[in-house]
């Protein structure tokens, strides 16, 4: 199958453009997910901060973390926002002391939560992403400034996932159209740029075939082709024609000598 030179060259541009557009799209989407997640976390950080402030006021009054009566407050916060899955308060051993879901009290929280809490004890909050939920935590300090536990809020990832999916669909649609247009523009522009080069090659081939089959072609005839902008080609063709002529003349001269017509 014959694929023109311009076609082949233009084809090279396509994978490069597709890869470039794909990487940019993936990066954009990742940034969106990061920003969206930061915004959600920021909202829930405020809620957990409020819960923590209430707890710390009671700790300042001398109450122990495990003796606080905050289950109802936690439940109210959970009910007020349907994205909130649970709000839990755990101690420095990772044991749940209070929870909006009373069945989880006394359970151990995942090790990852405890590690994050310990690693971020100096920060105002920390966040994790689990398979089905996002987690936002704030440390609780007693009136001596010691870390005694943390408030952790788990929220549904549905909103985040739904938004990311919507953006992905939109990006795929828009970028596919953009990629298609870009590829077509690149392809045809490359074809256009190279078409002159290809026609020059075709003309060169054609002239060489004419010269080969008709050895007595007039030089003027082959010099007139406007497609050819390579001066050395014209010189080459002139020399080929001159060689043919010279061979004709020389052989005629030799024959004349041989026949004694010339001395």
């Amino acid at each position: 199958m014959f694929f023109g030179f311009a076609f082949r060259t233009a084809l090279v541009l396509i994978p490069i453009l597709v890869v470039g557009i794909t990487i940019t799209s993936a990066l954009s989407l990742h940034k969106f997910s990061q920003t969206f997640s930061t915004l959600i976390n920021s909202g829930f950080e405020f809620v957990t901060g409020e819960v923590r402030n209430g707890i710390q006021v009671q700790l300042d009054l001398g109450l122990l973390l495990k003796n606080l009566e905050i289950a109802q407050t936690l439940e109210e916060y959970q009910i007020s926002d349907n994205q909130i899955l649970s709000i839990e308060v755990f101690d420095n051993h990772g044991v749940v002391l209070h929870s909006s879901d009373s069945s989880s009290v006394s359970d151990l929280v995942p090790e990852e939560w405890v590690n994050s809490w310990r690693l971020n004890s100096t920060n105002s909050s920390w966040a994790l992403q689990e398979r089905n939920a996002g987690v936002v935590g704030v440390p609780i300090k007693n009136n001596l400034g010691q870390d005694v536990g943390a408030v952790v809020l788990r929220y549904s990832r549905n909103l985040l996932d739904q938004n990311i999916w919507n953006q992905t669909r939109h990006l795929i649609t828009v970028n596919s159209i953009a990629a298609l247009i870009t590829i077509l523009v690149a392809f045809f522009s490359a074809m256009f740029i190279l078409s002159r080069l290809c026609s020059e090659y075709r003309s060169m081939g054609k002239i060489m075939d004419i010269v080969r089959t008709n050895k007595k072609t007039d030089t003027e005839e082959v010099q007139q082709d406007k497609n050819i902008r390579t001066p050395v080609f014209h010189q080459f063709i002139s020399m080929v024609l001159a060689t043919n002529r010279e061979m004709d003349l020389t052989i005629m001269k030799a024959r004349s000598l041989d026949e004694g017509k010339e001395n």
């Binding site: 490069i16 523009v185 060169m204 081939g205 075939d209 080969r212 050395v232 020399m239």
Partner: protein, 714 residues
């Protein structure tokens, strides 16, 4: 048949890039590819960011609602339960201030009363205050527990009515700025710029390869066939089978030359027949003269010439390899930190530097043996062997569990690195000519720094998104692609033998080279350049910028600047140096710029630490831009001068060997410096070392010139 093999050889030997009209098409195509890539990425990113902003605004408002509800209930509690009239509350502004400080995405907070106007506010712009009053007049209070959001100027304002004992007393306003979202999303612009740059470099590299293989090299060859033919020497045809316009033209050319040669043979045969059949010796002699004249006038051969390999052919595989290696550059010292055992044998800083140093040592040792291997197995096989080492090294680094394992795998990487560098340098030395040595060197240096552009920035992003260890796995994949490219482009490159058997072996080549003051001079510059590279760019930059709070993405982007400057500057500098033949002054200027640039970091107190580092990176980039290609050209010249005594590959190995010393001492030096002083002082100390090395280099170069001047005077 007339065989003029000398002319045929001359055609093949003249491999300097001929200025053909096709070069114009090549440049236009490069510009087209780059422009379309740039435009498409900008448009796509703009659409995406605009859409993202629309999706993020409701979420930002959600936060305002959460804050407004909580603050509203606290104010209601104070007024209703504690009985304090709302306009007599104390410390509300301070409370608002602390709330805004801990929630920087909120813009303002205000309590507005229908009769008394703004009771309390913090950070509310005057224009918004006027609008709030106007809105209050139009729509006094909403129902209890409700909230209402509207756009005021560039802010989203949420109103929360405050009810005391069932009566509305004021409105709490929480304002958020959409500018915050824009600012957060804007950080992606730098990442997209980095992706655009990487895409453009890759586009240029691929087009470069495609065009030079399919257009530039064949047309330059055809051009030489035409030129030779136009002088009456039809000595060469082109062996090429391509089913496109170019291939068809080449077939026409070959057929024309074949028929012309056939005709010439018939013509000659007839002349000889006429001469031999002639009984008159006078006429026979005349015909003999005609035969001799035609022999001198025309040259024919049925030789098919093939397109010879060029120096630039190694550029693509080499670029891909450097790309894979540079992927970890922006985070490698930070990656090592995770492997340092709790009670390290050496100081913490030295432990970080060790994997980098030992990598360089492995490279150094591989360079030692690579010189001989290159002769035995050829450049292409050595390159592929290097890729095999690198691939195993990357996979091992991905799987490494301990500090010792990490060092082992990195050493394997180092061996691969050394072999590949040697293969490339030998390839370029073998396929460059005296007239285009600088051009060949720029292909080599250009590939390295195109890798420096793409690797750190993309690697930094990948490390942030997929993890630092997984980035090594991606490097392994890229190394395989590089090996495949080398196999396709460099294959059939046989083991080579020097035309002349060099007489020197053992330590003799070392003595000869070090007896050459110009060699010693460039060794000083080379070691200083390499020390700057490994100490400053590879070691101190990631650690220092990380300490300043920059992410691996930002570190990668800053490091990318270095490669960018080199890629843009090197070809121009190398061409200029080739034209004016002033290689050494360029290296001196480069050393001064990079040395002073490193000292510039001391101004961090004036312009900021990150900016000072950025200026140093740019200065080092500019300096190295002036040093690298000329330094390589000087080295190639020295290698050429000593070719009769020392095998070229051996000379290159010796140069590489001493040059690597800079890479080895760099990280250790940097580690020792930061153990005793600050990062800025450590960087400045490296700058001083560069300047001192440059002074030594100039001294040795002058020692070479002095005897020459004396000889001229004599």
């Amino acid at each position: 048949m007339i065989q003029n093999s000398e002319t045929a050889r001359a055609i093949n030997q003249d491999r300097s890039p001929a200025p053909t009209p096709q070069k114009g098409f090549y440049i236009r195509l490069l510009l087209l590819g780059s422009a379309i890539m740039l435009l498409s990425q900008v448009i796509i990113s703009w659409f995406a960011l605009d859409r993202f902003e629309q999706a993020l605004i409701p979420q930002l408002n959600q936060k305002a609602v959460a804050v407004g509800t909580a603050l509203g209930s606290q104010i209601t509690y104070a007024s209703q339960e504690l009985g304090i009239p709302i306009n007599e509350l104390i410390g509300v502004n301070d409370f608002f201030q602390s709330t805004l400080d801990s929630n920087p995405d909120l813009q303002y907070l205000a309590i507005v009363d229908l009769n008394e106007g703004v009771l309390f506010q913090y950070n509310t712009p005057q224009g918004v205050i006027n609008s709030l009053m106007g809105e209050m007049q139009k729509q006094p209070y909403g129902s209890q527990g409700s909230h209402f959001t509207e756009e005021i100027a560039e802010y989203l304002d949420s109103r929360f009515p405050i009810y005391v004992n069932g009566n509305p007393v004021a409105d709490l306003h929480v304002g958020v700025s959409t500018e915050n979202i824009r600012r957060q999303l804007f950080t992606i612009v730098f990442e997209i710029i980095a992706v655009i740059m990487v895409s453009m470099v890759v586009t240029i590299e691929i087009l470069n390869l495609f065009m030079s293989r399919n257009i530039l090299a064949p047309t330059a060859h055809i051009h030489r066939v035409f030129e030779s033919g136009s002088r009456g020497k039809f000595t060469s045809r082109l062996a090429m089978r391509v089913r496109n316009e170019f291939g068809i033209m080449v077939s026409s050319l070959n057929r024309l030359l074949y028929e012309l040669e056939q005709r010439y043979q018939d013509f000659h045969f007839e002349l000889r027949e006429l001469r031999d059949a002639q009984i008159d010796p006078r006429i026979s002699q005349k015909i003999s003269i005609i035969i001799d004249q035609t022999n001198n006038r025309f040259g024919f051969s049925d030789r098919f010439s093939i397109l010879e390999k060029t120096a630039t052919q190694i550029r693509m595989p080499f670029f891909l390899f450097i790309f894979s290696e540079e992927m970890s550059r922006s985070f490698f010292p930070l990656f090592v930190v995770g492997f340092i055992p709790p009670n390290p044998a050496l100081s913490y800083e030295l432990m970080i530097s060790m994997p980098i140093t030992l990598f360089m040592v492995a490279t150094f040792l591989a360079t030692l043996v690579a010189g001989k291997w290159t002769c035995r197995v050829g450049c292409s096989r050595l390159f592929i062997l290097g890729i095999a080492f690198a691939f195993v090294g990357y996979c091992g680094t991905f799987l490494a569990d301990s500090y010792a394992e990490l060092i082992l795998w990195r050493c394997l990487n180092g061996v691969g690195y050394g072999l590949i560098f040697n293969a490339c340098e030998t390839w370029i030395a073998l396929h460059s000519k005296e007239s285009n040595r600088g051009h060949g060197a720029s292909a080599y240096v250009g590939a390295i720094f195109a890798g420096y552009i793409c690797g750190p920035s993309l690697g930094g992003m990948l490390a942030e998104y997929v993890g630092q260890d997984t980035t090594f796995l991606i490097s392994a994949g890229l190394a395989i692609v590089s090996g495949f490219a080398a196999y396709r482009l460099l294959a059939s490159d046989p083991p080579f033998h020097q035309d002349l058997s060099p007489s020197l072996t053992g330590l003799e080549p070392w003595k000869v080279l070090f007896g050459n003051s110009r060699f010693v001079s460039i060794v000083f510059t080379a070691i200083a350049t390499r020390t700057t590279l490994s100490a400053f760019l590879f070691f101190l930059i990631p650690l220092y910028l990380n300490e300043l709070g920059h992410t691996t993405i930002e570190i990668g982007q800053m490091m990318m600047l270095y490669g960018g400057i080199i890629v843009i500057g090197t070809p121009g500098i190398s061409r200029l140096c080739d034209r004016i033949r002033r290689y050494f002054p360029a290296t001196v200027a480069g050393a001064i710029i990079s040395g002073v640039g490193l000292l510039f970091v001391l101004t961090s107190g004036l312009i900021g630490e990150s900016r000072a580092v950025l200026v140093s990176i740019v200065a080092v980039g500019l300096g190295h831009c002036l040093i690298l290609a000329p330094q390589y050209a000087i080295m190639q010249k020295i290698v050429y001068e000593h070719r009769e005594q020392i095998e070229r590959s051996v000379s290159i190995s010796i140069y590489r060997f001493v040059d690597r010393i800079g890479l080895i001492i760099g990280p250790i030096l940097a580690a020792l410096l930061i153990q005793t002083t600050s990062y800025t002082n450590a960087i400045a100390a490296i700058g001083l070392i560069v300047l001192v090395a440059m002074a030594f280099s100039v001294t040795f170069a002058n020692r070479q010139r002095s005897p020459v001047k004396s000889a001229v005077k004599a």
